[in-house]
Assembly symmetry: C2
Homo-oligomer: 594 residues x 2
């Protein structure tokens, strides 16, 4: 049977580009993209992608060249997910929240041959290119910068001669795409996504056609996304290519509703006007949806969330509003979501808060992975399924990235003994569902005990007055480290330290102690106007840790002591308590959660 | 980016075996298999498969060896879909409706190293092995024949020493399966399925791990099969490995309800007792379900049908009973269904009979295919999308078979210019959905016009009194060929030719003429007690064609003439009418529809 050869009929490269050719073939007249008053059908989208690919070819873009883009969720960015690889090139969608310096770093590292810039971002892009020229000691070829004007309401802003729509007009609708040329290998790169790099320089995660195809199909399946979805682009497409749903909506012949901003007004308007069925977002967007909810509430919408562990209390609130949440977990390196908290029918019988607690777990591996596990990295042995023993979450399968672009060292460190190391610490529950306890670097080791900052945060989120919470390690003379909570509050108040604040701090600490062992409750609560966040909206814990260090020798130490007097004795340091001690690790990975 | 290498973490072979390891890991305590009073959980099924694989290894089964099995839908056959490839071997599930001669042919051609036989089939299996010994001129090693006794109600029947459950007891539950050994290549064979071969010797279709994985995931997705399905095994597992749902139910962590017989009593009992959500079957099973429907009707069940074009009238009836039908089309060579008639919401507004007509079309390609098309085989040009122009349905993609085992000639003929030729003739409608008009060999060329036997049959099925219908070409002195209908009737009657029958024949011909051009209506209707069928339940049209030939010189000719007198003049032969003339083909492929 081994003599039966592969041929063009029975062995075709796996690539999400086939989702578009199929959509154009079998749903030619269905609406593919909506943006303002602009609509396209799948046959139009296909033609526009062909035109784009042919124009890129004319601009001398060749196989494996990088095409960068800085744009919000506009039709052009959607089309580039197909048009760029159809030219054999690699799409690099840059986070629009980055500053000029970051942009220059990425353009330099990726060696982008073409740079598309949405009209709204020409200032930061120009500044980025200026920095790039400075660093390269040369002038950048401005002819390769192409502005994307607003397709719905053109503004006329330019940065050089080229403009996206003009490029399409001059493109060839009969271009034979790269993927049809029998030259595509499914291991070829399709996109390059830079991690946010909270602790290190951004790393360029390379996806293959194969990995993207497999991940996309799995996620459509796990979300149980039926035919003809109407998908709202509330999640930036530059996040893991929209968690692969850029390609997934084409696979399902759905409609992409593009919006420039994720304001509650724009989102609710789109939901109602276009009868949105599906949307993705980080849990932080729930707050936006909850703050300005319409009356009456909108029709039920399927919402996939990830990027940070959603507090159970927040899940409960958003579901009460009529959204049905599917919770997933992933990383840029896993080509989007790697696990999903698959719902079990028997859980429907549980009280709602218990349901939310179950749903807040990260769940089970997606079908595109060969395996997902929680292991002791020293021994590579799986932890017991007791919901307590912590280890590192590790993955393997064909949806894992090819590696980090031009970074052999980081690639080598990320792959160990046939596994990809996520850098996330978790447990496996007896039912086989795993749960993240923390980023390995965010675990607080207090008196020899591991404290999950996520666990403490999830308790804080249950407090009516807390909008956002982040818990980090604060130095402690006796325990080594102890938890310190930074919060933003619903009720506005004077940040100056006063009696009222002390009272509120004590109240919150007491609140935590009702649900947590005392040693896990924060010993200090700091009220901030806003939590420090990076460009992807992730809380910058390293900044908070730096802040927390300043409390050691100040009044807070006394404060901590005074609280300690009221506690039961915390558990002491037990040097060889393997069940509770987190393995010391020299290397802390800086992978990027979704 | 090309320097980023494949490694064990990011490039794992695609294989449906991962669906079982995943199910055992994340749904360990869910019910995997129900058979009578016997229940297994996913962790038990996994262990049983490991034991089976280790025992096969002990029996000296090695990579690419064939393991044949002759069994109905019992747990052992389900387990073999994982256990056999876990030993590196290739599963060959033999159609239980075959006779001893067919069985001997398959055992000889496949060079099966082990032969599992369900206790109910020991007689025919023994006879098959006797024939095999005769043909090989040697005694077969009886030690490699293993009886599968009934796991629920053991009968004690043996054929040599070995028995399936004993084999498992002696197996090693800690066996390291072949797939875990890093030695599996996704192009390796996983199963060998013999086509029913209506016109030629059976051909052995070889599936790869890759193709099976891709096809399974696509079909679960297209059927929109949610988590925790309860799947009734009404479709034999020996048909394309149960249209891949042997693996698909594991992928979804579902429950397999195994039944030995597809009697209406057993099916309805299982549906009610186990709250069945999904089942597959050929349209012929609809008749069984309709004949003895329970009162009240069962809860709604998702039913996937294929294997023969379902008449719209039959679809309408079965859906009225509460079954929701998904219609698909495929062939053994396509690793199960290759297309699905994906429902469009706007069709819900149409009258029910129009909905059924739309649903009777074969639909759009599944996501595991790179492409599906209808082409003129002479020029390899796609036919226009007009719903009229006929061509051959062709496929390409990674879910297509590796080829025919030990048959290079047939493999070469099946693959042409990078396409797999289905041997089915169809049209593409303007909306992109394709529809089968016939097997290429079943097209009736009458006076230069192509008549689709399927189209005539679908009209016949609308007649209240017709249970089954098959239309074939009958020689005609003027038109060359003309349609002849063979039918089985609901109302029992004396088959002897008499006035009553002539009256009924005329009535049916008139009925057809109301919906068809006169030249397409049958010129002869023959009433049979039963239509000739092969082991897979497919109507043997070649037998009917032989029968139809006998009518040429008999009374039917006169009869045809007498009817002709009442007709408008049929369209004449137009030699170069390319739109209507089916391309003459020397080679008629004998592929096997699902």
């Amino acid at each position: 049977m081994d003599r039966l050869p592969k041929c063009a009929a029975n062995y075709t490269p796996l690539t999400p580009l086939t989702f578009l050719t199929r959509a154009a073939s079998v749903y030619p007249d269905r609406i593919s993209v909506i943006y303002g008053r602009t609509h396209f059908t799948w046959s139009q989208t296909y033609e526009r992608c062909l035109r784009l690919a042919s124009s890129l070819h004319s601009l001398n873009v060749r196989k494996n060249d990088v095409v960068s883009v800085l744009a919000p969720n506009v039709p052009a960015l959607y089309e580039m997910h197909f048009g760029v690889p159809m030219a054999g090139a690699v799409l690099n969608a840059i986070n629009t929240r980055l500053d000029a310096n970051n942009i220059a770093t990425i353009l330099k590292h990726s060696e982008a041959k073409v740079f598309f810039v949405d009209y709204q971002y020409v200032t930061v892009a120009s500044e980025g290119m200026r920095l790039l020229c400075d660093s390269l000691g040369a002038r950048i070829l401005i002819s390769l910068v192409i502005v994307i004007d607003d397709v719905d309401l053109p503004k006329g802003i330019r940065l050089g001669k080229l403009e996206y729509e003009n490029l399409l007009i001059n493109g060839n609708p009969n271009y034979v795409p790269f993927s049809d040329d029998q030259v595509l290998d499914e291991w070829d790169p399709i996109t390059l996504n830079y991690t946010s790099g909270t602790t290190s320089a951004p790393k360029g995660v390379v996806y293959s056609h194969r990995g993207s195809y497999l991940s996309t199909k799995s996620l459509v399946l796990h979300w149980e996304m039926k035919s003809e979805p109407v998908y709202l682009w509330s999640l930036p497409m530059f996040h893991c290519n929209g968690w692969t749903f850029t390609w997934g909506v084409a696979a399902r012949g759905g409609t992409n509703v593009c919006i420039r901003n994720t304001s509650s007004e724009d989102m609710y308007h789109a939901i109602t006007a276009h009868k949105v069925t599906h949307m993705c977002c980080a849990p932080v967007i729930f707050n936006i949806l909850l703050e300005e909810k319409p009356d009456p509430p909108p029709h039920p919408v399927e919402i996939m969330t990830g990027g940070a562990p959603p507090p159970a209390a927040l899940l409960e609130k958003i579901e009460k509003l009529g959204f049905h949440v599917t919770h997933c977990y992933g990383l840029t390196e896993a080509t989007g979501p790697a696990s999903v908290c698959e719902w079990q029918k028997k859980w429907n019988l549980l009280p709602i808060h218990q349901q939310s607690k179950l749903k807040a777990r990260q769940g089970v591996g997606v079908l595109s992975l060969a395996e997902i596990d929680v292991k002791d990295l020293q021994t590579m042995v799986s932890v017991p399924r007791d919901g307590k023993s912590v280890g590192e979450i590790v993955l393997r399968g064909s949806s894992i990235m090819k590696g980090y672009f031009k970074d052999e060292e980081a690639t080598r460190k990320a792959f160990k003994n046939g596994w990809f190391l996520t850098g996330d610490v978790g447990v496996i529950h007896p039912d086989g569902y795993f749960e993240i306890k923390d980023r390995s670097k965010d675990v607080i080791i207090s008196g020899g005990e591991n404290i999950s900052s996520v666990e403490v945060e999830s308790v804080l989120y249950r407090h009516y007055d807390i909008l956002e919470a982040a818990v980090v390690a604060m130095p402690h003379p006796f325990f080594g480290k102890t938890p310190c909570a930074f919060i933003t509050s619903r009720s506005k108040f004077v940040t100056k330290k006063n009696d009222q604040e002390t009272k509120r701090e004590r109240e919150i600490i007491e609140f935590c102690r009702k649900s947590l062992p005392h040693f896990m409750a924060p010993k200090k609560v700091v009220f901030l106007e806003e939590l420090p966040k990076n460009a992807t909206g992730k809380i910058q814990k390293f900044e908070l840790r730096a802040l927390a260090k300043t409390y050691l020798t100040s009044e807070s130490t006394l404060h901590v002591k005074s609280i300690d007097q009221q506690t039961t004795t915390p558990r002491r340091y037990v040097p060889n308590d393997n069940n509770h001690q987190h393995p010391q690790r020299e290397q802390v990975l800086a992978n990027s959660r979704l």
